[in-house]
């Protein structure tokens, strides 16, 4: 089911928006992790994960997101989520992700947050 692997990126100022589309499982999770890692290697420090096009999420996908958040924090980057569905917001809360990464209703709000100084 490789059609689930849909990742797009868009640069907005110093931030890169990563659009996570489809089913966030281990394959997609791994891809997202790879994309974010490459962004960091290229010097990007602000990343917005956009979940507006995410249809389903499973716990393995979430475990990859946790791994990404850990790495971003380790490397002193900034991160935010946006357009997270109600159920995914709940899952992020249960897994503790919500404590470390703010979620925003819209991409615009998230970009505003990320463009601010630390």
């Amino acid at each position: 089911m490789t059609e689930n692997l849909t990742i797009r990126t868009r640069v907005e100022g110093k931030t890169v928006v990563v659009y996570v589309g489809g089913y966030l499982n281990s394959l997609l999770g791994e891809e997202v992790e790879k994309v974010v890692r490459e962004l960091f290697d290229a010097g990007i420090r602000r990343v917005l994960l956009h979940f507006g096009e995410t249809r389903l999420v499973n716990s393995i996908g979430i475990s990859f997101v946790i791994g990404i958040v850990e790495k971003v924090m380790e490397r002193e980057g900034r991160m935010a989520f946006c357009e997270v569905s109600r159920i995914n917001r709940d899952l992020f809360r249960v897994t503790g992700l919500a404590k470390y990464v703010p979620s925003f209703e819209t991409e615009k709000d998230a970009l505003e947050y990320l463009s601010g100084e630390v």
Partner: protein
């Protein structure tokens, strides 16, 4: 050189407070004997070692103080204790020689009764010594000036170190208290061990006891061995104070700082700090600045946790690591490594293992290990590594890791530290079917609260008993009608079973934690938490109340909640000790007896607690009684992503019941997780998973069955397994009931989700919570 004033040794000496020194009688006695016997040419030398900050410097300074103030014994020469610390010296030998001379002359003059000279004037001090009858120093000083002018560092150093021995035949003899001796290995252009080589003849003579102290005995003993001096030295290891001395130190600190700590807590405070004096002083100051009063063990643990996460203890170790590892990356690596070793107790005793765990280049890894050894955090003997066992350092490392790597807030880490301490010896949470049933009833009750008002008497057992003790239920119901004082209950958004902070160790849970909102708006300002314990014992004892209160304070700390935002509620089973009722009132804990709860339940039209005995529980695979449900079945291959098919079927099935999209999402997610769990862990031979969907108007039941025999080791790498294991936890959040049963034919996961606000019976007890077989590690 005139007019130059160097600071170093005097700093340490000036900060020593003799009245703060307690214990270490044996060590002092041995060192004093060695010092005194120098007068007869039979003085021993000592290598004093131990972790950083354990109190080696204080021991030397106390010895110096005692020797200086000891009365003269007959015509024997007096020992002159010369304390010199090498930690603050400049690394150039010329600077060291100059500093050494200054200290020696200045301390000798003071020993002989002169005042502290205002500035470093070696000629003037030599003249003053000559006036006191001690001649011969001026000539050596002239030689030193010559070497200094020529820039000959080694000769100047030899000259300076020989200075104290020019006092042959005088009525005193020097006893050397050389602190932080490992720093002598850092002198520029001077080979390691040269200092001992210079001092060798004097040490061998037995007339000049040398008491070397340092955090890194490995380096010094290697030099001693090279010089053939190792046999001349006795090794003296310094640890924490004795329990009794530590308590005496607390007594003194509390009195001086006017800090109030109950005597019964002091042994706990001592142990918490490893009985290390410098920590005791810091914590006493912390308490003084923060509250000045500690009333109980929880308060003590909280203050300690605050100190180690943001106060003095934290600052102390933070500065230590910043100085030892100025490079941030290296510091991070060092802290992560030490955290693994000291907190997680990663088994490690070889250099190769340490280098591997450090995960750095060999060169960097060795530099980090060398810094650990130098600072006394690690010892290397015969290639065997041992690390310092310091409880405060371990907690600091935990903080540094959680905050720096995982990005957690200070209060969260502090809460985890307190939890780890308080959980020791905590009573086991109540288990068993009856208890689980009572918890489920309370959970259901809370979900119905929705800003309704109830008589306050329902939450106050003491007053309730006073008013209605011995009366029948009808009388009580009638009496309650006149109760005007009411409590507005919050709108509950979620009730979870248990509360788990993150650190390892025993579970430390509440039976329930509910998130509610006071005015109906789901906003931060309105948030209120209810922590609930349903007492499993027949009789409520004061200890259980204490334990509950401890966890409540922990929860408030972890969540950063003000006191009025955390409501505490204990639900009694049968009786309560009067002391426990008083204690609950004192702590502001709501307390409800089963009679009160029955009235409570009646108000909300729910089942009674402790009513008719329950019939036998339905078999795991049977549908719920009542309306006949519609059944759907599906067999899935254990193939990547086929769980999505299961989710789509669930969506279609749920559509028949016209449930809201959020509930559908929850059902889909739950079934996805259950399928993934079966795929990953079942070790099924058929490679198939059987699903059943039972739909009735008020609920949907989902059964995921595999024919596996138990846990199958995953083929995934360690890295990809990281952060895993959320499956079952998520399922529990998503549905109302979960049950896992493993039998001969495989494992069945039963999940039930209710639709809308239909009253429900008690949850089934969870099999795995009763110690039943858990077929898969992550289940």
């Amino acid at each position: 050189m005139a007019g130059v004033r160097l600071f170093g040794t005097m700093g340490a000496e000036a900060s020593f407070r003799e009245e703060d020194f307690f214990g270490r009688e044996e060590e002092l006695s041995a060192l004093t004997r060695a010092a005194v016997e120098g007068g007869r040419g039979i003085g021993s030398s000592f290598m004093i070692y131990g972790p950083p900050n354990i109190g080696k410097t204080s021991l030397l300074l106390k010895l110096a103080h005692d020797l200086r103030s000891a009365p003269q014994e007959g015509a024997l020469p007096r020992p002159f204790p010369f304390y010199f610390s090498f930690s603050n010296i400049l690394s150039h030998p010329l600077a060291l020689s100059q500093h050494f001379l200054q200290e020696f002359l200045s301390q000798l003059l003071r020993f002989l009764g002169d005042e502290q000279p205002a500035a470093f004037d070696p000629e003037g001090m030599c003249d003053r010594l000559a006036a006191l009858g001690f001649t011969g120093y001026r000539n050596i000083l002239a030689a030193h000036a010559k070497y200094t002018a020529a820039g000959d560092g080694l000769s100047a150093l030899v000259n300076a170190l020989s200075f104290p021995f020019a006092s042959g035949g005088d009525p005193f003899y020097p006893v050397f208290l050389f602190d932080d001796f490992q720093y002598t290995g850092k002198l520029q252009g001077i080979p390691d061990g040269a200092m001992l080589s210079i001092l060798r003849p004097y040490i061998k003579s037995g007339h000049y006891p040398m008491l070397l102290s340092g955090s890194s005995p490995g380096r010094v003993t290697a030099s001693l061995k090279r010089e053939g001096l190792f046999g001349t030295f006795q090794m003296l290891e310094i640890g924490g104070l004795s329990p009794e001395a530590s308590l005496r130190l607390w007594g003194s600190l509390c009195e001086r700082r006017r800090v109030e700590i109950p005597a019964s807590l002091l042994p706990r405070a001592s142990e918490r700090l490893g009985r290390i004096p410098v920590y005791q002083r810091m914590l006493a100051e912390e308490i003084f600045f923060r509250t000045a009063t500690v009333t109980d063990a929880i308060g003590l643990e909280n203050l300690y946790a605050l100190s180690v996460t943001e106060g003095k203890l934290n600052r102390y170790w933070r500065e230590f690591f910043e100085n030892t590892f100025p490079d941030r990356m290296r510091r991070g690596r060092a802290i992560r490594f030490l955290k693994r070793v000291l907190c997680d107790r990663f088994p490690l005793d070889t250099v190769e293992g340490a280098l591997s765990l450090l995960g750095a280049s060999e060169e960097e890894g060795e530099a980090i290990l060398s810094a650990f050894e130098f600072k006394g955090l690690m010892k290397a003997e015969l290639e065997q590594l041992t690390f310092v066992g310091d409880p405060v350092l371990a907690d600091f490392l935990y903080w540094a890791y959680e905050r720096g790597v995982l990005g957690k807030g200070g209060s969260q880490v502090a809460a985890s530290i307190v939890q780890a301490r308080l959980s020791q010896g905590a009573p086991e949470p109540g288990q068993g079917g009856e208890h689980a049933q009572r918890v489920a009833v309370v959970k259901e009750l809370m979900r119905k609260w929705d800003l309704r008002e109830v008589p306050q008497l329902l939450l106050d057992y003491g007053r309730f008993r006073e008013k209605f003790g011995g009366k029948g239920l009808l009388e009580v119901v009638m009496g309650m009608e006149g109760e005007m004082v009411r409590v507005r209950l919050p709108k509950i958004s979620s009730v979870s079973t248990g509360y788990r902070a993150h650190r390892g160790g025993p579970r430390f849970d509440f039976d329930l934690v509910a998130y509610g909102f006071l005015e109906g708006d789901f906003s931060e300002e309105n948030l209120v938490l209810w922590a609930v314990d349903v007492v499993p014992e027949k009789n409520l004892a004061a200890r259980a109340v204490e334990h509950f209160e401890s966890r409540c304070r922990l929860l408030a700390l972890e969540k950063g909640l003000p006191a009025d935002r955390l409501r505490k509620w204990m639900v009694l089973d049968d009786t309560a000790d009067p002391a426990s009722v008083d204690l609950a009132a004192q702590y502001g804990i709501h307390l409800s007896h089963s009679t009160q709860l029955r009235l409570f339940l009646n108000l909300f039209g729910l089942e009674e607690l402790g009513g008719e005995p329950e019939g036998p529980r339905p078999a795991p695979l049977a549908a719920s009684p009542g309306e006949k449900p519609v059944e759907y079945e599906l067999v899935l291959p254990m193939k990547a992503d086929s769980e999505v098919v299961a989710a789509r079927v669930a969506e279609e099935v749920a559509a028949f019941a016209s449930v809201d999209s959020d509930t559908v999402d929850r059902i889909k997610m739950a079934i996805i997780e259950a399928c993934i769990n079966a795929f990953e862990h079942s070790a099924s031979e058929s490679g198939k998973v059987r699903l059943r969907y039972l739909l009735s108007p008020e609920k949907i039941e989902l059964f995921v069955q595999d024919d596996g025999k138990g846990f199958r080791a995953g083929k995934t790498s360690e890295e990809s397994k990281k952060n895993r294991g959320w499956g079952l936890k998520l399922i529990r959040e998503l549905v109302d009931e979960v049950e896992i049963v493993t039998g001969q034919d495989g494992t069945v996961v039963r999940m039930m989700k209710r639709f809308g606000g239909v009253p429900a019976g008690p949850d089934l007890p969870r099999k795995e919570a009763e110690g039943g077989a858990d077929p898969a590690g992550s289940r």
